[in-house]
């Protein structure tokens, strides 16, 4: 793989991360992270949609007049999301119920639209496809970090498996209790704030003056 293609793939993982650097696609990033499993499924769904939306729009880029490109993009993205939604309903119905409206909201997820606008309309199909995969992974990795803390501290489990032993809990005569606040929406925002804080402490060039 050429180094430029590799850069498209790995850039969005940290230095150009869609969630914590470009501040895109926050809505769904926060809402589906109470548990790890829906977060992983959501990350994969967004990756598939971004990659294929980029690929299709990159193939069409010379044939679509720029005045109507937004509508064309929405149609392409909406069709891909409907496909993903039907697949989720067919194979992982319980997760699909948990994600509820947020699967539909991939359509208005700024990452998909933003990458198509900013990258796929100027680049070749293969590069665009890799860019989509990279941004999907960058988005998914943040989702997994948030969900890891929220599920571990909020319910004491990871992917549904118990991590914190039952005997530690106060009900069983121990000293520990779950942080119920972690299950509420506001904590997701505060965790993202802390991730940005940590990330920018290491990447000084991203700090705002």
């Amino acid at each position: 793989m050429a180094s430029k293609s590799l850069k498209n793939l790995t850039g969005p993982l940290s230095g150009n991360n869609p969630v914590i650097v470009q501040i895109l696609g926050i809505c769904s990033a926060l809402a589906v992270t109470v548990q790890l499993k829906p977060a992983i499924v959501m990350g994969l769904s967004v990756m598939v949609v971004t990659a294929f939306a980029n690929l299709v729009m990159s193939l069409l880029r010379n044939g679509v007049p720029s005045r109507i490109r937004i509508i064309v993009q929405l149609v392409v993205i909406a069709s891909l999301v409907i496909l993903v939604d039907q697949v989720l309903k067919a194979f992982v119905y319980d997760v699909s119920k948990q994600l509820s409206v947020y699967v539909g909201l991939i359509i208005t997820n700024c990452i998909v639209m933003g990458r198509v606008e900013a990258f796929a309309l100027q680049n070749k199909p293969w590069d665009s496809f890799l860019d989509g995969i990279g941004n999907g992974l960058g988005y998914g990795s943040i989702l997994v970090i948030i969900a890891f803390f929220r599920e571990l501290l909020g319910s004491g489990t990871l992917l549904g498996f118990r991590i914190i032993p039952e005997s530690w809990y106060i009900a069983e005569g121990g000293f520990y209790s779950n942080c119920g606040l972690m299950l509420f929406p506001p904590m997701a925002l505060i965790i993202v704030g802390c991730i940005i804080w940590a990330h920018r402490s290491f990447n000084k060039d991203l700090q705002e003056k």
């Binding site: 809505c27 809402a31 937004i70 929405l74 929406p185």
Partner: protein, 202 residues
């Protein structure tokens, strides 16, 4: 009474931003001054009040099972129909406002196209569809009320946020937290404050 309850809860309890994170992208990006926040909030409330009832009608008479043709369930098409209605409506509003009120157009101009991809609008319509299924919205009037209420909730949230961020410019924030970092933490704290409304029932 039920309708009033729906209105209050869509503004405060099920607030678009603090309870569901809808429209976060523009919420973080445009909340740097109160004036622009007021403009965007107005535009979102207007579009929301119009598109939720429109999508309600489509949902009721086209998409629901057995609505259009006996024995046909078109609900899998709802994503694409809703987004098409929203995009078309935003385009229409932009043209009408440009023609009849150039001053308002200059104020809202840059925000109008942004609204088409604001998740609050799409999310409002999808939630409306869910609430119809759950029997919380039963008629056209209630869908108008829900659209208006959720729009106002978003408006309140972004104006509050902008006012706080204007004050923040004078405070001494650690360098890595400046900009989006502190904005997220403030939103989280505001969300905790809004949690006191949960459980209110009229």
């Amino acid at each position: 009474m039920e309708t009033l309850n729906l209105f209050i809860s869509s503004i405060f309890i099920d607030n678009m931003v603090f309870a569901f994170f809808f429209g976060m992208c523009s919420y973080i990006a445009v909340s740097k001054s109160v004036k622009t926040a007021l403009g965007l909030g107005l535009a979102v409330t207007f579009v929301q009040t119009m598109t939720v009832p429109l999508n309600y009608l489509l949902n009721e008479y086209v998409l629901a099972p057995n609505a259009l043709v006996e024995g046909v369930d078109l609900s899998f098409l709802s994503f694409i129909i809703f987004i098409a209605v929203i995009a078309a409506f935003v385009q229409l509003v932009e043209m009408v406002v440009e023609k009849f009120s150039p001053t308002l157009y200059n104020q809202l101009g840059i925000f109008l196209p942004l609204i088409a991809v604001n998740c609050a609008i799409m999310g409002g319509s999808l939630f409306m569809q869910q609430m119809v299924g759950a029997g919380e919205i039963n008629n056209f009037g209630q869908s108008v009320v829900y659209g208006l209420g959720s729009g106002i909730g978003w408006w309140i949230a972004i104006v509050m946020m902008a006012a706080i961020r204007e004050r923040c410019t004078y405070s001494n924030i650690p360098a890595p937290l400046k900009g989006p970092g502190i904005a997220f933490i403030i939103t989280g704290l505001l969300g905790i404050a809004f949690m006191i409304f949960s459980g209110i029932q009229l």
